[in-house]
Each structure stands twice: as C-alpha cells, then as structure tokens.
Symmetry: C2
Subunit: 677 residues, 2 copies
C-alpha cells in the first residue's frame, strides 16, 4: 500500500482545496489518489477537519459540498464532518432568538443531500423539533448520514455538556434514544415515535456506530466519576459495529488532550472496535478548537492523526491500517494520571499555548471582518508577548505598536519597545502622553475641588494618577481603531494581574481582544523565552524585557524612588500563580494553603505572617476584581480552568464571601445572640 | 379573628426586625401577636420574605436565626424561607471553584437547627453530594425542615432551570426523587439510597408538600408546552397534603408575574390544596427579585400576598383564611392570555420597571460596599432618567451629576441638566471638555499621521471626533470614582441604542452599572412622564428634556447644520423598538417584518424601500454590536427578553449570519458550483 504517496498527494490537494496552491492540478491528483484508495478495499474514509464560521451557513455548506465532491471523486466509502458542521459550534441562544437560521441550515442540508451519490457524507446540523411534542427544548444536535441523493439516517446527541464553556443543555434537547433513526423522522422526532431499527448503520458493507462529541465521554470504566447515567458508546457496542465514528467540536485546554487520547484509545481497545474521531478546528470568540482528528485501531493503537490547528482532509482506512500520524502540537501530551503538581516548568505546554492563542486571534479577526491590531508597547512582558502573537497571527504589517511614554517611563522601556518593534517588523510610533495627562490633571483639579466641596470622602492616596496614564493610552489606541479601517485595539492584561484586579478599566484592560488574559505571569516568562527560541526570527524579544521585574510604570514607589514593581505591590508572582493554580485545579481554600508548602517557600524564607498577608490580599483583591472579569474583552481560554466569563460564572455581588470559614464555636456564639429578640 | 390588628402589629415588628424602628418594643408586640395567633388553631405560618446576600453565609444565617426566633416566640407552626436562603440565589460556579462555602453553609445550617424548638423552620441550602456516588454534579439545591433542635427532613429540587438568567443545571444535580427524604441522608443522598418514606411532612398536625421554585412550574394542564417530563406537584398531590409550600427565588420580568399568579392559582384550585409561595426579594447583579410571596386557598383564591420589593415577615393561616393581600406593584398584572401585541402604552408596567431598577441599583451598591454614583448629565433623556433612579435608589446626596458640555452642546442642554440636578437635589458640577478634546485632537493629528504613513486605510469619514467627546466624559467620571471613596460611574445607554451599537466603548457605555440598559427608548419617554407624576417631588424632569428629540450631541448633521438627531442616524425609535420587540417576543425574521404592518406605519407613510433600508440597517448594526453587549456593565434585566449577557448568549463571531435566508433555487445554484473540483 502506497500510503507515503497517498499523504504526499493529499497534502497538495488540501492546499488546492484551501485556495493556497493554484499551480497544481487537482484533477491529476485525484486520479492518482483514487487509484491508491481503490487498493484498500472497503472502509476508506475521509476525515474532513473543517474550520466553520458560526452561523455562516452558506460559507460552511459550500465548504462541505466541496469536500463531499472531493471524497466522491476519490471513491471513498464515507466523508465525516465535525459536530454541527453546517451551523458551526457553538451557536448558543442565537437559534432560540432567530429560529430562521435553523430553517436555513435545514434547507442547505437537504440540498447538499440531493447532490450526494455513492460516497456517504456525515454532516452535523441543528435539527428543529417541529412535531406536536410539547415537552423539552426546541432543537436536537444531530448528524445526517446522506448518500444516493438523500438523507438516509439521523443520529442525535444524547449527552449534553453544560459546564465550563459548554451550554448545549440550554438550547438542545437530549436525544431519548441512542444511535440511528430513519430519515423520515427528520425534524419530527421525539420520545413517542422512536423507531425500532438498528442503532448502527451499514455503509459500503461495514457497520458504523455514530455518536456526537460528549456522547463518547462517559465510559464508566475509564472515568472515576461520570456526569451522566447512560453511555451511548456502550449501547452502540451491543450491535458490534466495525467502526465507531464520533463527530466533535472540542476546544483545546491545558491537559485535556491526553485525557482525550487515553479515553479514545481505551474505548477502541475495550470494545475491540476502531474509533474514528473528527474534531472541529478554528476558533470562536473565547474557544480555540485544535482539530487533531484521529483514528485508533481495534487494539487502541493510534493509527492516524490529523494536524493540530489546521484544516485538513485526512484519508484513512481504520480496518486496513491505513493512516498517518501527524505530529501533535507539543503540549497536548501531558498524562491524565500525572499527579496534579504546580510547576514553573511550562516548557511542555508552550507550543500548544502559542497555537491556541494565535489561532484564536486569527479567527476572531478574519471571521469578523477585522484585519489590523494596534497596541501599546510599554517595553514590559505583557505587551511584548501580545505583539509577537499578533504579528504571527495577523501578519507584521497589520500590527501597530505604539510606545506611549510618560514621565515615569524609563529610557530603557522606550528603547526596548522600539527594539522589539524593529525585531518583529511591525509598525511603530512613539507618542508621549504628557500633554494629555497634564490637561486631564488640570481639569481634574478643578473637577475634584467641586466634588470635594460636596463629598467628604476624598482619598488621601488614590490611583487616579496611575489610571490617567493607562486611560490616555487607551484613548490613543481606540482613536486609531476609530480612524483606520478594520482595526482593533488590544487589551494586554495577563491572568495573574486580572486575578488581582491589577488592570485599569478603560485602560490596559480595554480593547477588542485580550490575547493573554488566561496566561499566568510565570508562564509568560517561559513563553517569551520559547518564542525567542522557536519562531522563525529568533530572539525578537530583547533579553532586557525578559529580565526586568514587571511593573506598570504608572507610579513611583515611595520607598525606592523608582517605578513601583508589581510584585512589591502584590506578592511574588511565583506565589500568586501557585495560589491561583491551587484554587483552580485543586479547589483548595485558605487553610489548605496555609498548611501546604509552596514552591516559592522552597527557595525563600516566608513567615506565617507574610503568607497570611499575601493570602488575605489575594482573596480581598480577587473579590473586588469580579467586576473587571465581567467586562473583559473576548480572550482565548488556554488553561484547564480560567476566569473567562464564558467559562466561569460567579456573581459580582459575592464580595462578602468568607473564604476562611468560621469555627463552629464562633457560629454558636453568633447565632445565640440572634435568638434574643 | 383580629387580622387587622395582626397586620398592624406585624408591620411594626418588621420595622424593628429590620432595624428601622428603635422606639417600639418588640416584646410587647410579640405578646399581643402571639395571643392573636393562638386563636387560629393549627396551620399558622410565617412567610419570611428575605433579601439575602449571595455567599454571605453569616449575614444570611443571622437573619434566618432572628426570624426563626421571632416565629417561635409567636408560636407559629412553621416559618418558611426562600430557595437557598442560607447561601443566597444564584451562587453559580462559585461553589464548584470554592467548595469551602458549601461546607460553611452546612455548618451554619446545622447550628441553626440546634437552636430550633417547637416551631418548624424550612431553610434552603446547597447540599453537597459527598457519598461514594460517581455520577452527576456535586450538589443538590435543598430544603431542610428543622425543629426540636435538629434537621428532620430534606427536600431536594428536581427541575433545574437552564435558560435565560438561570444556570441551575450547571452545578446542581436534579433530585432523583420528589419530596421528603429523612435527615440521615443529609449530604449522603443519591439515586441508589432513596428511602421509602412519605413524600410529604406532617408539621403541627397538618400535612405539607414541599417543593422548590421550578418544581412547581411544570403543570401539564396549565402550560401548552412543558420543559420537563415530571411534575413534582402532581406527585406530591397523591399523598393529599393539606398545604403545598414552594420556596422560590424568582426575579421580576415583564409579564411574568401574572403567569406566576395564574399558575399558582390554577394549581391550588386544581388540587383543591392551598399553595404557599415564598419568594426571595432583593437584587443580585442583573436580577431583581420582587418578593410578592403569596398564599392561595384551596379554591385558587388569593388569600395573602406580601409586599413587592421589600423584606417582610408575613403571618398567614391558609386553612383558617387568615391573610392580607398587600397591593401588588403595578405592572405585575398583565394577563398571560393577553395576545402579544406591541404597544407604546407602557403605563401599566412603569411602577414595576421603577421598583425593579431602583432595587437593582440599591442592592448592587449596598451589597458590594458601594455608596455613591457619578454620571454625566447631558440634558438628554437617558442620563436624566438614570439620575432620577439613582437619586431614589441611593439618596440624592450620594449622586453627583456632571454636565460636560462640548462645543456641540446646546445652551438648552446645559440649562436642562442643571435644572434637573436642582430639582432632584443631587450634587452638580459643570466641566467643559474642550481642553481635553483639543489636546487629544492635537495628539491624534500627530499620531494619525504616523499611522497613515504605514496604513492606507484611513477613513474619509470617521466617528473619531464623536468618540473623543464621549471618552473624555468617561475619563472625568472614572476620575471621580478613583478619587472619591465607594463611588461608581454610571453607564447611561438604553436598550434601543445598545441594539444599534449607538454607544461609545469607554464612553457612555462604560461604567460600574448600567441602570436602563434593558429599557427601550419609547418606554423611557413614558417612564419620564410617569416619574414626574408619581415621585414625591413632582415634575423633577424638565418638560423640555422629554419633548426634545434624542441625539448624542457628538456630531453635527451636515444636512441641517444642527446636532445630529439619533432617529435620523438610525431610524424612528417607534419603528426600532417594534423590530426589537418582534424579534424578542415573536421570534420574527426579516420577511415576517416586511409583511407585517408596524404601529409606526399606521401614522406614517413608509415605502417598502424605506422599510427595507431600516431593517437592513437593524440587522447589520445588531450583528456588529454583539461585542459591545459582551462588555456591558451589570444592568438590571427588566423586559421579558433582553440582551443582557447573563440572559442571552450569542457568539460575537456570528456576524455573517444571513437573517434574510436564501431561496432554495439560489442554494441549488451555489452548491452546484462547489461540486466542480
């Protein structure tokens, strides 16, 4: 079997189909590919790892149709698309408010079906429930199996995730039955008309068991705890299919990929059935989908894996051991069983972080008709990393870095910023903010006097001066965005500082996109070094930027007479990031952390008073930062847990939570006083 | 039965218990109340309509304990609290990330139980699932029935709302059984250890059927369509309880209250069983709960109803016809069966709108340690209505109105703003923005030249000038908030303009709270007149403000040489608000609206071209406003549907949705081109 040639050719075909290669001739390639495929006998499949645009049904349908035509030309048995391929995932409440788009996705689906011939196509869509049923939600998340000019079977999603960034259960009705139902149930299906038919489908002489995303995430032997009561894969397995096929839209998050790998391998081996998994690629707002579609053989061995973070049409034959394992983006391979330990060794996760974020930026811009970004270059780590990621995601010519020094800004910061821009090849301008700050201050003096004459609550020490600077800078950036077409200002806040509310509203946390809002500061240091080492242009980030201790350069530290260092205002980043990590990953609370030894404590003497002070500060600042989290621009979710508002919901009005807890004796004493009327 | 005296006394007791009356003697009142209550025989209950603080377990527990002590002193059979009373509703993902607070609510609950004696207390709490069960979510939403110093029974919520502002299903496991389970199941309950015991509970010789909020919202005869497959009330009815008791946390939304009224009346009458409904009062971020707890007798007749939007302890006896029907806030009485018709007659809903928003403001501030608000007073309708609401919610001395005229601002706008402030008695200052705008412009010229030398995409006509003004004003307001303690700037955008994206990022849509973000413009006109008529100080809003046609006064209309009128830039508000209403309430789409006759069209000639232009503009502007919705500050949800991000979720990256749909013939043509490879 000439699989080497198969993948050489299909890579060229991919480029042609993605309009990235106009020199090669697709027809010739198809002829040769078809011949190779014909040697595999039955079971040859195309995994169409697409990047759809949510709600752009015409765009998605055209892409689907093109890949069906291609798969048909190759005489494959079947081409499989990701979950909700016609609609794009996640469409969310949009379909409840604008039901027209569900009707549209159905119209396009039916017309696509008419154009299918011998090769089966498995296409995800939103299915309305238009019968006389009066219980539950209005839609199913479904797959259509189509060939010979019509829809032949429908498969509906049973397990609906409703945690983290997932909201399926808000607008989708869980299917009351596992597996396939006949096509006449289209848009008319419900609990009361379940047809007695095989749950699996025979295509090209082989039996396939189809499922949708979460449906395959509930194996009782694999997981120590389960979210749902039924396991669709186990139900399908009773009919002994030759192959499982799962259509997914599963975003990349830290440590999730190996879990996925292990689980899929486990299922294949456990049921002695190959598993074909087709994942969406591309980003939608805060979620970045990594693709990495794959096939495991009946022994749980990885037979094929598509590229990560790229569209690809991968030809495989799970029964004939035809496949190619493209390298996984580094960072997708941490072990599930690995003990959860906080580490500052981020090396393994940096390539994934890079691709997750750059795809997130690129797709947010391109799918919304945006093209350019402007950002402040302070010479600090946050804006530096953002600039690199933007240059790589959008093209250096589409990025404008503006150095906006104030009187506090050091000469080094200014030259570091300029050097960075030069190294990256992005556009650069320097615009002092002095005049704006001076004018604002003059006006403020007048205004504040008037306010003070009525309100006796003026702070002795305020952050007004700090914020004027940050807001003047944002004024510049939004000005550029207003004056130049398709341009978006960038919010450069990082995760550690957002936790502490160490970001200015309408200042550095304002923008149209926040690339590193889910990257903690200690990881950013490692990330900067990684970028210097792994990008085509090496060492674009001046060493001085990585070496300097971060500070916003908005205020002078009275004790040193120099710009305030963030760690002095907050706490050591190494300590802060471990607190965040312990809360997010281990659900630890105040006392747990007092009782644990932190990484930072291994190399530094920390008194109990100091630790207590830091932890008190952490909870106090976190509680008053909830508002800031709620108005953060879209940002790519990167870590296993985040504070992204689409992922984590905490009422702003919860600022009085006592994270320390209360002793039972104290509770008793307090309550006793309440019964005395 | 001396019920008149009963309610006279209990109103005074309420004031004492709420620390609003320190002259009266609670002990004397209790003696007299107890005597009256003793004449009712069995079945006397206290409805403790509390305003909890989410997550402030100590605060909530103390309040609960005080009301239990009061109820016990009166020798009532039982005191009933709202859903999740110890924790406050909604606590959301907070309990997943910080499980300590669930442990805390359990600790406090157990100590409260120990202090109960003869009077039963029904208290809502978050119950952990700590057994060896490994399926589902980690918590139940539960009620504890406590007396004689211990928890006697547990009731768990079965139906978990997961739409609009509700996210229960994200973090709560639905109870696998309806009704009561014994107390030994506390924190150890699951499907596999359901105890065979009565689902109802006998207290003081009467049988009660307890349920939690959504549990009573699934009657099959009442609703034309149902969300769930089971009806807990129907299940409880089989044991023929003497009384149903439902503990709720149900926020106020347009047209929801009459639905609630009709449904509860229907249930009581249908099962010939009185229904006691205890609702939370107070606001949390975007949700404003109205209270209005009530009792229906066995014939579905309203026997008692607590005040709306106020804490109250209401003594009732559903079997002895003891109750008082306090007046419902006007606007809570629209009929469920009323045909859905768009109307500009908002009169009926304005009192509810007023109380919903003022409570929303008051609680957001007080529960988060905030006290003061500053806002720009433009002399326009939006900022005017906001100023009135803030003055009423926070006290006039805590509101600072700043008139910030630019060269476009008319003399009338300035004097209207000042007059308004004087009429309201709020603090006032005038601060021209000229210097800031001039300085910014000077800097912008320099900056834009530099950018233009690299980017050839400068707009011929931009909104830069408009936005400088709005952002300079926000700069002032955030400056005040930085310089003066506990002060929050206010975002004054209204719903109609937010739909159109007619609001400046970091400008008028920036702030710590957005009071009228869910009030459409045409309603605001009616609201202003209502405020002038119904507030203690009449006619605080100058007539000129209500009469003038709204415009942001940010730009000059080239055609008229006068400040641009918003309706000329957008479309008539009457038309715009009807589009919004049709989409939100009737799920209409483009063609539906082309085919319908709008209210506006009754009095105005509108050509098809004009209507098409407006609708095209609506969808185009709405699609690009999604980002603005995502960064809107907290705002009270008022209408039956909103664009509040906690209520409505649409990906920002859905800007290519074709809301018009495509003809099948066109679909065919498009797809045919895709199969030619």
């Amino acid at each position: 079997m000439n699989t080497k040639r198969l993948y050489e050719l299909s890579e060229i075909a991919d480029l042609i189909l993605q309009d990235k290669d106009s020199n090669s001739n697709l027809k010739d390639i198809i002829v040769e590919l078809k011949e190779i495929v014909s040697s595999f006998k039955q079971g040859s499949l195309g995994l169409a790892q697409l990047n759809p645009i949510v709600g752009d049904i015409e765009y998605n349908s055209k892409k689907i149709m093109k890949y069906i035509a291609y798969a048909t030309a190759l005489d494959l048995d079947m081409v499989v698309f990701p979950e909700l391929a016609i609609m794009g995932y996640p469409i969310e409440d949009t379909i409840d408010r604008h039901p027209i788009i569900v009707e549209e996705n159905l119209k396009w689906l039916k017309e696509i079906a008419k154009l299918t011939t011998t090769t089966a196509a498995v296409v995800g869509f939103v299915e309305p429930r238009r019968g006389k049923y009066n219980t539950g939600k209005k839609y199913y998340n479904s797959l259509a199996v189509m060939y010979d000019g019509k829809i032949q079977h429908i498969i509906r999603k049973s397990l609906l995730p409703n945690y983290s960034e997932f909201n399926d259960y808000r607008y989708i009705e869980p299917s009351p039955v596992i597996g396939s139902q006949p096509s006449e149930t289209l848009a008319l299906f419900d609990e009361e008309n379940i047809k007695d038919c095989p749950k699996t489908n025979v295509i090209g002489g082989l039996k396939y068991g189809f499922s949708i995303c979460e449906d395959c995430w509930n194996n009782r032997a694999f997981f120590s705890s389960n979210m749902y009561n039924i396991d669709p894969i186990d139900v399908l397995s009773k009919e002994k299919p030759n192959v499982f096929v799962n259509c997914s839209a599963s975003p990349s998050r830290a440590k999730k990929e190996q879990l996925k790998h292990n689980m899929l391998a486990f299922i294949s081996e456990n049921y002695k059935t190959p598993m074909v998994y087709v994942n969406q690629v591309g980003a939608v707002d805060n979620s970045s989908f990594d693709g990495s579609s794959r096939v495991f053989d009946r022994d749980g061995k990885l037979l094929a894996r598509a590229k990560s973070f790229e569209e690809q049409f991968l030809i495989v034959n799970p029964l004939q051991a035809v496949g190619k394992v493209y390298p996984l983006t580094k960072g997708l391979e941490k072990s599930l069983t690995e003990e959860k330990v906080f580490t500052l060794d981020y090396e393994n996760d940096l390539e994934r972080t890079y691709k997750t974020i750059t795809q997130g930026i690129r797709d947010y811009f391109s799918k919304n008709g945006l093209k350019r970004a402007c950002l402040g270059l302070s010479g600090g780590l946050d804006s530096t990393v953002c600039a690199v990621l933007l240059a790589d995601a959008l093209g250096k010519e589409n990025v404008f870095g503006v150095s906006m020094p104030s009187k506090i800004t050091s000469k080094e910061s200014r030259s570091d910023a300029e050097q960075l821009a030069e190294n990256l090849g992005i556009n650069f301008a320097e615009m002092p903010i002095k005049d704006m700050v001076d004018t604002t201050n003059r006006m403020f003096n007048n205004l504040f006097e008037q306010v003070e004459s009525k309100w006796d609550c003026r702070y002795k020490k305020s952050f007004t001066q700090d914020n004027i600077q940050a807001r003047s800078r944002a004024m510049y950036l939004w000005g550029i965005a207003n004056e130049f077409a398709s341009c978006v200002p960038i919010a450069t806040s990082d995760k550690s500082e957002l936790y502490m509310g160490y970001a200015t509203i309408n200042g550095d946390m304002s923008g149209g996109f926040a690339p590193i809002a889910d990257v903690p500061k200690t990881k950013l240091f490692a990330f900067a070094r990684w970028l210097n080492k792994n990008r085509e242009v090496k060492n674009a980030i001046p060493e001085a930027i990585i070496l300097k201790r971060p500070g916003a350069e908005l205020a002078i530290d009275e004790r040193t007479g120099k710009p305030l260092i963030a760690e002095d205002a907050l706490m050591p980043y190494e300590f802060l990031d471990e607190v965040i990590w312990r809360i997010e990953n281990k659900h630890e609370y105040y006392q747990d952390m007092i009782d644990s030894k932190f990484l930072y404590e291994k190399n530094n003497e920390v008194t109990k008073e100091q630790k207590t002070e830091w932890l008190d500060k952490f909870y106090r600042r976190m509680s008053t930062s909830l508002y800031k989290w709620s108005i953060l621009p879209p940002s790519v979710i990167v870590e296993s847990r985040s504070i992204n508002k689409y992922d984590y919901k905490q009422p702003i009005t919860s600022s009085h939570i006592n994270y320390k807890g209360t002793e039972v004796d104290d509770i008793k004493k307090i309550l006793i006083t309440c019964i005395k009327l």
